[in-house]
Amino acid sequence: MEKKLLIEGRRLDGRSPDQLRPVKLKAGVLKRADGSAYIEQGNNKILVAVYGPQELHPRHLQQPDMAVLRCMYNMAPFSVEERKKPGPDRRSVEISKVVREALESVLFLNLYPRSVIDIYIEVLQADAGTRVAGITAASVALADAGIPIRDLVAGVSVGKVDGTLVLDLNAEEDQYGEADMPVAMTGRDKRITLLQMDGHMTREEFRQALQLAMKGCQQLYELQKEALREKYSSTPKEVTG
């Protein structure tokens, strides 16, 4: 018998089709990095570190009128069920590129000519939707580093399982579903900075899926703002000699 991903309107993990996985987001988790963030979204665990702006070496890579943005997405060998061979591969190089492009548009790169801003996305545990969760955490890390940005970028994936559109796919839905579409957009005015799709959807389904993604991104955007505020809202404690 064929296994079902959707039973009586509930997904395998008990969520309704338009529900996000539980999200935990924290800013400023690494002392050595200029900015950092940690996100847990379902079984995803991702750490993001931001360095810069700083001097770029070798010098021929410098841009005389703007900063260079570099992004590295990396999966830990223990992040997936079967050990992943360490180091960059086709997939992580591609994801690094799309993540960089998703964040580039919100940065004021012309403020820091000749310099470089580095973003490191380390996936410690993967459970589908790591690129978009990485973007959500990376924009928090950029803000935590004090790098000026136009807006925070939040990302979420939408997809189709058993003919129904669902928000924020988990690993099983990603693997056995009919479509998977990661979307990233700016928090305030919902401008899309990343849009990819794997699988099949009709035009109408695509429109609905985008609406669903917008809803998910709005929820994540609220969590991002909360995470940044939380870092500074804690009341100062008396220091004892």
Binding site: G52, Q54, P113, A143, G146, I149, R150, L152, Q224
Partner: protein, 236 residues
């Protein structure tokens, strides 16, 4: 017509709507059409003509006229390359440190070596962000003695305070001289190790609590308490 959407000194995050209308966007803010948004995490400052956000994190951006504490990285024919804790290195030419010098005859590393600390003024910043330093005059030049403390550069205005209130309070309570670089490097000039460590802790306290109010009074209480405790320990 102008509408302000946030209160003064409110904590904002990037992308938040601050104001609309004929106001200017200052540091930490940007304007899109008629609307002004924040671009950093920080505290809002609403002025007469301008809305800006004082960042709570960030690197040091060199500005003409700032005093900085620099570390010598290297020397070349005409001067030195100086790390000023910023994305850009500072250039110090020999004639901007020494009054009469013939660079063809003297060995520049006899004046400043790699690792030496200097106190300098930012003389010029070009559009390519080449930073030229000036270190002539009283109070500038090579630093001898003292302890270097580094804090987040954006928080140095808090160490100085409004009309130097914080800085002069620390100096009068402890009797030590502080040389504050806008780039987050502070030199405590003192021979007394206990005073140095008390001031160091106070500086870290300012860094940690820079976004809170009534800080000068809290730091004063802390310093007085620390110095009293040290005094008691010494007399035991």
């Amino acid at each position: 017509m102008r509408i302000v959407h946030v209160s003064n000194r409110a904590l904002v995050v990037p992308g938040e709507l601050l104001a609309e209308g004929d106001l200017r966007a200052g540091r930490g803010a940007y304007k899109e059409g008629q609307k002004i948004f924040s671009s950093v995490v920080g505290l809002v400052e609403i002025g007469e003509k301008e809305v800006s956000v004082i960042a709570l994190e960030g690197c040091y951006e060199p500005r003409v006229g700032d005093d900085v504490v620099g570390v010598i990285v290297d020397s070349h024919m005409y001067g030195w390359i100086v790390d000023i804790n910023s994305p850009y290195m500072g250039d110090l030419y020999a004639q901007d440190l020494l009054s009469k010098v013939d660079v063809t005859r003297v060995e520049l590393s006899s004046y400043l070596k790699r690792g030496d600390l200097i106190f300098a003024k930012i003389g010029e910043v070009t559009s390519l962000r080449k930073v030229k330093l000036q270190a002539r005059g009283a109070g500038y030049g090579k630093l001898k003695g003292g302890r270097l403390v580094e804090i987040t550069p954006v928080k140095t205005p808090r160490v100085i305070g409004k009309r130097q209130s914080m800085l002069s309070m620390i100096q009068s309570v402890t009797g030590c001289i502080l040389k504050v670089g806008q780039n987050g490097r502070i030199i405590i000039m003192s021979e007394d190790d206990k005073k140095i460590s008390a001031i160091t802790e106070a500086l870290y306290m300012i860094e940690r609590e820079a976004h809170t109010s009534g800080l000068t009074d809290r730091v004063k209480v802390f310093l007085e308490k620390r110095l009293k405790e040290d005094g008691e320990k010494a007399s035991d």
